[in-house]
Symmetry: D2
Subunit: 334 residues, 4 copies
């Protein structure tokens, strides 16, 4: 099986390097708009083809599947082109900031019978997967309250924020997907509140940097997501599900198991700094799952519909923040 | 200093027994409407006087201060009678379910120059106090997000729920007080959502058994409270404050420090079952603080205004749940 | 039931105050060689009688049982006098530094049919009791390796060390008792090694301040005790039992459950500083057990024989350290 | 740089696969006495040469360095042949069970100016490295007591035990190396005790399956190692260093960070099962260090002398167990 990667930014490079570690799969071609970068990376990765134009990569008849890791605004056209070229496609999150585009992507994949895999890497974290398994097996009974804490170590540049779609579509979107994944049920209503507490510049681009989102699932169970753009102590990724028979929680991940004890108490190690460290293994598991799904012609582990629902939740949160009221998903769903 | 206790239910008895452990303070008189119970308890506690009529206790010239631990609907009249008799008064939470009554209680204490101490025992828990201290010292910088988890091991009887004022005035009221205490700032707006997930009977009395309340403080910082009436694993009392320089969290309290490790992992001990076990020490610290406040003629550690604000927050949450929208405190404040 | 306490030092005072908290038991008399201290304490404790001469206390016909908390060298004569006066007796650890004296104490109690209770307070710590229970129930299978860590926060004064009998009879004696208690079996052989690593003065009085003792039980199972006279981080009291089906461990006890997380990781609270804090509850449980044993005319929870065996283990460790070889208990047992 | 691997058992295969993951290094040749296995592995690993005779591999002029992973009895001759062929050599632990052989290996490497790297993988575990760093930086002051717990999940086959050299040379040898590594000082005296508690067959081959070794370092600081061949709960690898300013401890490693809380308490995940899982990352770090040492012509991170000292400690422990007395290293050192 031969794979192509479009977009060799931070995430595209992770995927490309992970492909190299797999047997039975070849990293055949890469594409990037920055010519020099493309050349360097192509050499470093040892690929056969390096296309400046991503559509040439998509059209290359040697390629079986494509990973779309370019900027969000290019996702829709590239994914649809992949589908029409009968290539299976892995698309980084968010599929698009535009719901109609997402609908078109899903439709293109359906019509052309290719797999559209939405890149929600956190589903493949060993800790969250374990919680999912515990919930699914009924070990904590009926899930009643889900709590997700998700904090970044540092805010992205303001320039990035301007085009990011806002905190709910850029950052919380991961947590929206996680909420649906862990609970195994759909959300009915969203209430979002937020503030600018870290950097006043964020307010100027119409966004917030600290947010809380309350979810009400269709069966009445509840969810809370709390986000911050800046946790000085590092990436904070935890969740807890409370159910009728108990609770399951996934704690954050530390650098090591060492504790130092001195006159002021016990001191344990730092959390892993950011997503590259924390989700390194998860990115690899995600890729393996995509490859397995393609090889076995299975439905993707994370579908285009999953990508769409996370976006819909983001829309609802955005509307809720703006209109200062709870918003039902049907109000924003198309 | 001589004390009287009105109401010898579960909490009144704790206070009475704690008074016995203090030196320099005498448990002089008790009062309870149940004549037999009163006799037995008076004997067991070794008090000088046992009054069926609480107003006789209040009028007893030997008594310096009174603890009002009778049913909530009697608080206002008793507290006001205490104040007029120039007795310092400790009043169990909630001060009243009626905001006008609370205003009258505060006014009576003010006018008669007596201390009105609101019985929010959790402020005296060693763990939460430590978090308060950490926040006050600025160790975590500016507090931005507060998260309180508060779950009971078992729902009270439906009969109790009917007169309780609902989950926000009965249960969350503790968390509202804790939120103000820990953050050291006032709430501006409340959004509450809830469901009946444990017992259908709760719906019939117009209440919920699982709830999430989102708080927005006046400076934009945020808070979340999640409540459940039934955590099968025992009383769950935790909180976390996230700030610009780090976070501080108080974990729940276990029976012991023992861990058993077997083929399925590590197993630690149970949480303390309920408030009598968990807050045993806190009740004693609370009483000592009340006595100290009276003896030193200090402002009470927890004031009537504190009691009022917790009630106002409960009103706002109730209104929010009913009207399905965020509610500003000024809408319910009188 | 009326009790007398001989010796109002640190431990004697704890016992006296604990007796005051019990119902059905009266602290009837106290005795101390320091006249002023005796007067003050007698008044503070509100006892009926204060004897400078402990033998007068023992002879007082009103007294049912005596707690001997005076200096170790007085234990034997006082305990024997108690026994002969038909008073049940609680004796602080060590019963004596002289094995023949201990034999005489045990014999006196046996002949006069009184209870001789050896004051090993740690057996009553809730954490260690839980481990004992786990081991006894077979939850970890057959116990194979016991590990005890026991470190003091600060060394005692050199003057104290001179008369203490050395680290094994003064400090490790608690751990020897704990080893027999937890494992429920007898030791056959002891190997001790030690060094002076904290204070050179300790070497001058012929003692060590850091020690490791290896135990071999009669069935071949093994034990390790590690001691230090100075853990800067506070009292360190932990143990672990490893067995054929798993392990059980009791962690040290902290001041609170708060953790602060900052750029360098998680920071939890200090350990409780020393035995008065750590074993406060255990001392009370110990006293209640003694009272219960006396009232029910039961065999004592910790017997004179238990006190003797801990001493024998101390003798063996001392001999092992001196002779640099493992020592069998029969070599030092009389 | 071209590498050859001799011996494609469990460990040799790990090293071979790890070499494949490195850039700038080529796995050039492999050797194994089992012809079929050699063919299969050579194909799977994609190496240029597969030698049945390890000496042919050693003589291959293309090869720069060799990893000796064959059975222990072949180490000495192979390592010496490598040295004489001017090949740098990595030798799995133990270098040999024969001290004279080890001396010859060290001498051969010295004379031929090649690196002899002793394969103590645990030194490269991120947790133990962190403790080493903490100790070296003086964060816990002067180290006084080291405690190592090292337990396997299951005993090896009796056939293996017969040729293993006994628990101290086969299993504890890792801990002896760890003790020297962490403490950064040499041992003077060893006392070992042990029992057969798991499988009676072990006694028949003259070995023990449960052991405790006490170490006395030259400066008087102390160490304890406790070993068991069978911890039902999985591989148990922990250590603690206690010093004049505090303690540092490395806890065991779990499968994930998930905790489930139910009516009986908190339940965390299992430990990683055995060394392949636990030290996966450490093996890779070890290999990278060997390659780096060779490339930079540095002294090896773990030297032949280190390999020798671990063996000497094993000899001393063996002698101590047999003669039931503490043994000084000079008694067994040659």
């Amino acid at each position: 099986m031969k794979l192509g990667v479009i977009g060799l930014g931070r995430i595209g490079t992770i995927h490309a390097e992970n492909i190299k570690k797999l047997s039975d799969v070849e990293l055949y071609a890469v594409s990037d708009v920055r010519e020099d970068h493309l050349k360097n990376m192509a050499k470093k990765l040892g690929v056969r083809k390096a296309y400046k134009d991503p559509y040439e990569l998509i059209e290359d008849p040697q390629i079986d599947a494509v990973l779309v890791c370019s900027s969000t605004d290019t996702h829709a056209d590239l994914v649809i082109a992949c589908a029409e070229a009968k290539k299976h496609v892995f698309c980084e999150k968010p599929l698009s900031l535009n719901l109609e585009d997402v609908n078109r992507m899903i439709e293109a994949a359906r019509k052309n019978k290719v797999i559209l895999f939405a890149g929600f890497n956190r589903r493949f974290d060993r800790n969250f997967r374990k919680v999912k398994e515990v919930v699914e097996k009924g070990e904590i009974g009926e899930p009643q309250v889900l709590k997700i804490t998700s904090r970044d170590p540092e805010p992205p540049p303001i320039e990035y924020l301007k085009v990011s779609g806002g905190i709910f579509l850029d950052m919380t979107i991961h947590d929206f997907d996680m909420a649906r994944y862990i609970m195994g049920k759909e959300v009915e209503e969203v209430f979002a509140t937020g503030s600018v507490l870290i950097d006043e510049e964020v307010a100027k681009v119409g966004d917030v940097d600290t947010a809380i989102v309350t979810l009400k699932f269709k069966d009445g169970s509840l969810g809370i997501i709390d986000n911050s753009r800046k946790a000085v102590y590092g990436y904070d990724q935890r969740l807890e599900v409370f159910g009728s028979k108990g609770k399951a929680s996934a704690d954050n991940v530390r650098e090591n198991t060492v504790a130092i004890t001195d006159v002021s108490g016990d001191h344990t190690s730092k959390y892993l700094y950011f997503f590259l460290e924390r989700y390194k293994e998860a990115y690899f598991e995600e890729l393996k799952t995509f490859v397995k799904n393609v090889m076995n012609n299975e439905p993707p582990a994370v579908s285009g519909e999953d990508g769409k629902m996370a976006l819909v939740l983001g829309y609802a949160a955005k509307k809720s923040l703006k209109e200062k009221r709870p918003v039902k998903l049907e109000e924003v769903m198309k």
